[in-house]
């Protein structure tokens, strides 16, 4: 991801010389760039290239097939379909990894896509691992001390951040209490509680990683990741959790491109329509509510504009946002990217003699 820095408001003219970079399939007209069109084009060729990448990586690792955690979400559905089309259903194994707080639809949609592709799959609930580590109890204690009226028999909970575009508020997390589908209260989390909560929640993704490797090693398969570029840039994955995999075929595709791939691959409409979520809270919390703080298509256009150093003017035309909001959003994205640098980093090595 390239940083635009202080000169975000480049003129159209200044872009002519600078932005001669080519896209994967051809040159981009940066002056009249239609960002969504750029992200949605040549999806058929993209799918073929991703399949080739998956095959190359599996072959390079000398493995016989692919294990994939199937969440019922669009990313794993796309990755699973690509793997099956490349290797055949016999060499792909799906694992459904629900826990106590997962939405029921995660399991049904995950099973549905495995069955529609004819892939062998297994359900391995991770709740016993989570319970053995006392994660649910510790999480409940934090919620109780943050939200005095919290009653686990009555309320569902979610972790949210304020909307960025309309409110312009700081990245301050809140616990939301939901009763009968309605938000009845929200409380600001203290820093220590937030850090503890993130550590507890991330055990869920890390448990899934452990189970996937248990199966992959037994079968001599790789574990295929499902992280997309939007998530990668924003650090929206768990290090050694869903980020603990052998290959990441989708990690250079924005979420918008994942949707285009899903349509091209004819993924189940119910999966495409389901709002993206990490699905780790008892109330289904969307990525827009916690990570992006704005609609996905806006976030992707802002990220794309930054990556390709598009001018403020072009970004305004594409997003429909005023220039000052775009500049604020770009600064916000820079901060998020900097803060999450360690999530993307592999352990630095001290090389002797260098």
């Amino acid at each position: 991801m390239q940083i635009i820095g202080s000169s975000v408001a480049q003129t159209t003219e200044s872009n002519i010389g600078k932005l001669s970079k080519n896209s994967t399939e051809g040159s981009i007209n940066y002056i009249n760039a239609q960002i969504m069109d750029e992200m949605n084009r040549d999806t058929d060729k993209l799918a073929e290239k991703l399949k080739g990448f998956i095959r190359d990586q599996v072959t390079a690792f000398k493995k016989k097939g692919v294990v994939l955690g199937v969440s019922g979400g669009i990313d794993s559905a796309v990755a699973l379909t690509l793997c099956v089309q490349e290797f055949g259903k016999e060499n792909v194994y799906g694992i459904l990894l629900p826990e106590k707080e997962s939405a029921p639809s995660s399991r049904t949609l995950g099973a549905e896509i495995c069955e529609s592709l004819g892939v062998s799959y297994e359900e391995v609930p991770i709740s016993p691992i989570i319970e053995a580590l006392g994660i649910y109890d510790k999480k409940e204690q934090i919620i109780k001390r943050t939200c005095p009226e919290y009653d686990p028999e009555v309320h569902k909970t979610s972790l949210v951040l304020p909307d960025f575009l309309n409110q312009g508020l700081l990245n301050v997390p809140y616990i939301r209490l939901i009763k009968d589908g309605e938000t009845v209260a929200r409380y600001r989390l203290k820093a220590n509680d937030y850090l503890e909560l993130i550590g507890l929640q991330n055990v869920k993704q890390r448990s899934r990683m452990i189970v996937q490797y248990m199966y992959a090693e037994k079968m001599n398969y790789v574990v295929c990741g499902t992280t997309n570029k939007t998530e990668l840039v924003l650090g929206q994955f768990v290090k050694y959790g869903d980020g603990g995999v052998d290959l990441e075929p989708l990690a250079d595709c924005y979420k918008t491109q994942i949707y285009a791939l899903a349509k091209h691959l004819m993924v189940n409409e119910a999966i495409i329509k389901r709002p993206p979520s990490a699905d780790t809270w008892s109330h289904y919390t969307t990525d827009e509510e916690f990570y992006w703080r704005m609609p996905m298509h806006i976030m992707d256009q802002l990220l794309y504009a930054k990556e390709h150093k598009l001018s403020l003017e072009i970004t305004e035309k594409n997003t429909g946002l005023p220039g000052d909001t775009i500049e604020k959003a770009w600064r916000h994205i820079d901060r998020v990217r900097d803060t999450t640098e360690y999530v993307r980093a592999t352990p630095p090595v001290y090389y002797l003699g260098k």
Partner: protein
């Protein structure tokens, strides 16, 4: 007002990525100068609430109120009245 500003400055020197001998102007950006990150910001909010016995309304949790020594000092002064 000055003692509030000095209190925040001391907090930042002890708890942020600010170097001990660094000079921080009243209007310098805390985030753009790498003095606090998103977690540091949450810790600073907790410190302000506890130290000055104030509750900060959600609509006042804005970058303008928290990104500089002056902004923070003005906020505390307004809420501690």
């Amino acid at each position: 007002m000055e003692h509030i500003k000095n209190g925040i400055l001391d907090y930042l020197k002890d708890n942020s990525f600010m170097e001990r001998g660094a000079v921080l102007k009243d209007s310098d950006s805390l985030t753009q100068n790498g003095i606090i990150d998103s977690i540091g910001l949450l810790e600073l909010i907790d410190y302000i609430c506890e130290t000055y016995s104030i509750e900060i309304p959600e609509d006042m949790l804005t970058p303008e109120n928290f990104d500089s020594l002056q902004g923070i000092t003005d906020l505390i002064t307004r809420l501690a009245k």
